[in-house]
Amino acid sequence: MSREPLLAVEDLRVHFNVGGSTLRAVDGVDFQLFPGETLALVGESGCGKSTLAKALVGLNPITSGQAKLHGDVITGISRQARRRYRSELQLIFQDPYASLNPRFTIAETLGEPLLLHGKATRQNVDAKVCELLGQVGLDVELRQRYPHEFSGGQRQRISIARALAVEPRLLLCDEVTSALDVSIQAQILDLLRSVQQQRGLSYLFITHDLGVVRYIAHRVAVMYVGQIVELRDTESLFEAPAHPYTKALLSSIPRVLASGEKRKPLSGEVPSAARPPSGCRFHPRCPEAFERCPGEMPRLYRVSNGKSRCFLNE
């Protein structure tokens, strides 16, 4: 790809001090996100995926490294300076009810960012609100209602409309369908896809659901204890995972149609980022670990259509 990346994350670290020890929540993450692309960030609880997303919008302090939005550094800058980028980068969360103001009507919820970012005037704000509602598939007649009058799926549509109001180029979607039933989840995924096609948006899509990833993402970054262990294009990752952790993750997902292959659950649990294992962080649970793994941290090695952090891919 010779295109210019929209977002470039370079050796980003987010460490927290917890009771005297250092919690390495995000520990040296590099990736690029291109215009019109969806990059999924996957991993189990505590792998650092949400911390990373929050760091990108300034909700978590950055220890070192940086992120650039089409060339401009957007991390470690003042709130004042950050305001310039706010309209280009928007966040959507898992629980739409918690992220909507219960005392605002939908028209107010959508109107506020429109006015604040100069995307509408007092005169045409209502027309703009209706246009947004149309785009996310909500009836414009409902715009004088309050969040509690909507279902979970409808509220998530409102959150999406609000994020789109400021005409961003990048949406950070943090588990946006995890609280929804599958029939509604499918509606929201289709909506996100069609919005992407219309507007050429990029998505950084954080989820733990690998079925959703395969459906929506162009590329996937798998995180384990603060690091990316595999970064591949989606079909390569699902067809031929390179890293043993990715293999284990894929094989532990229950399949609707039994594949017949015997599954072998991973033993143990995800280690704490405050006490990461020596060498490769996955070695204590890795079925393929050998002498070199506990002593030395593998770097990301080139594999077909991506990279993998494993000596076996050297």
Binding site: E44, S45, S151, G152, G153, D181, V182, S183, I184, Q185, A186, Q187, L189, D190, H208, D209, L210, G211, V212, V213, R214, Y215, I216, E235, F238, A248, L249, L250, S252, I253, P254, R255, V256, L257, A258, S259, R263, P265, L266, S267, E269, V270
Partner: protein, 332 residues
């Protein structure tokens, strides 16, 4: 039909649960019947608000009272549970029939060590104390894959999510129940931990012959774990049958739609997704004048609006609530 040789571990007949408030009445569960054979794992499946959790709670008499009213019959072996006074229900709960929930942290007392939580159950139901109780607790924890004395001294906050769920399962198993009701016990867990817990439940069924009613919205989990599936929609059973048959060849359009809206990790591009249009109906007091799924059904036709279809038995013994000919569903 010939008489069944083995008695069902749990037999639910015509269970209805309504919630009556001053403003309105909600019929959350409508004449639901199913049974659990000894050693059988049955999945109860459906989306939010379909009545699956109310069904499972009312089996233990745990539905909200007095607004919630249950009728019908719930038999645990020989004993009728519905209408049993609370004092006697308490003797059954946690003893002959146990339950585990989605969020293990909220089902454990944050102020009590593991040994105190488990000890309470043993003392209450079996009168066990001291060394005998301790021995039993250690055995139970070992069985759920948490061996070691030090686990007994832990408080819930010192354990990971997977460990907490193991403690809940250990607690549910202390009295060797005939039936375990599991309400979305792996929904909050990571997939690698989920597969450990599913493995554990399969082992327990094999070793103890325990019956499990597994409530979930995840069809993948159903495929992995359950022998039979009951699908609910709008408080009703819409389909029931052996897991493999039901998932590979659904006979109700709702089951079919549920499968078609689930992204598949094993299919290129996640498969094609077909969202189900619209929302589930609001459940009220009025009797339905059409099939509950008709407004969202992709296969809806004339007869669907003429009243609610009855639950009928197919030639191979499956159940479905739909008027569309089976041959048409199979052709899909």
């Amino acid at each position: 039909m010939s008489e069944r040789v083995t008695q069902d571990a749990l037999r639910v007949r015509d269970l209805s649960v309504s919630f009556v408030t001053r403003e309105r009445t909600v019929r959350a569960v409508e004449r639901v019947s199913f049974e659990l054979a000894p050693g059988e794992i049955v999945g109860l499946v459906g989306e939010s608000g379909c009545g699956k959790s109310v069904t499972s709670l009312s089996i233990l008499g745990l539905h909200e009272k007095p607004t919630g009213r249950a009728s019908g019959s719930i038999r645990l072996g020989e004993q009728e549970l519905l209408g049993l006074p609370n004092r006697e229900l308490r003797r059954v709960r946690g003893n002959r029939i146990s339950m585990i929930f989605q969020d293990p942290l909220s089902s454990l007392n944050p102020y009590l060590r593991v040994e105190e939580q488990l000890g309470e159950v043993l003392e209450l139901h079996l009168g066990l104390k001291g060394q005998a109780a301790r021995q039993r607790m250690l055995e139970s924890l070992k069985q759920v894959g948490m061996p070691g004395e030090e686990r007994l001294r832990a408080y819930p906050h010192q354990l990971s999510g997977g460990m907490r769920q193991r403690v809940c399962i250990a607690m549910a198993l202390l009295c060797n129940p005939e039936v375990l009701i599991a309400d979305e016990p792996t929904t909050m867990l990571d997939v690698t931990i989920q597969s450990q817990i599913l493995e554990l439940l399969r082992d327990l069924r094999r070793q103890r012959g325990m019956s499990i009613l597994f409530i979930t919205h995840d069809l993948g989990v159903v495929a992995e774990l359950c022998d039979r599936v009951v699908v609910m929609y709008a408080g009703r059973i819409v389909e029931q049958g052996p897991t493999t048959d039901l998932l590979s060849n659904p006979l109700h359009p709702y089951t079919e739609a549920l499968l078609r809206s689930t992204p598949r990790v094993e299919v290129k591009g996640g498969g094609e997704l077909f969202p189900i249009a619209g929302l589930p109906p609001r459940l009220s007091e009025e009797k339905l004048t059409e099939c509950a799924f008709a407004p969202r059904c992709a296969r809806v036709r004339e007869g669907c609006r003429d009243g609610e279809p009855a639950l009928s038995t197919t030639p191979d013994g499956r159940l479905r609530r739909c008027i569309i000919p089976i041959s048409e569903m199979r052709r899909a």
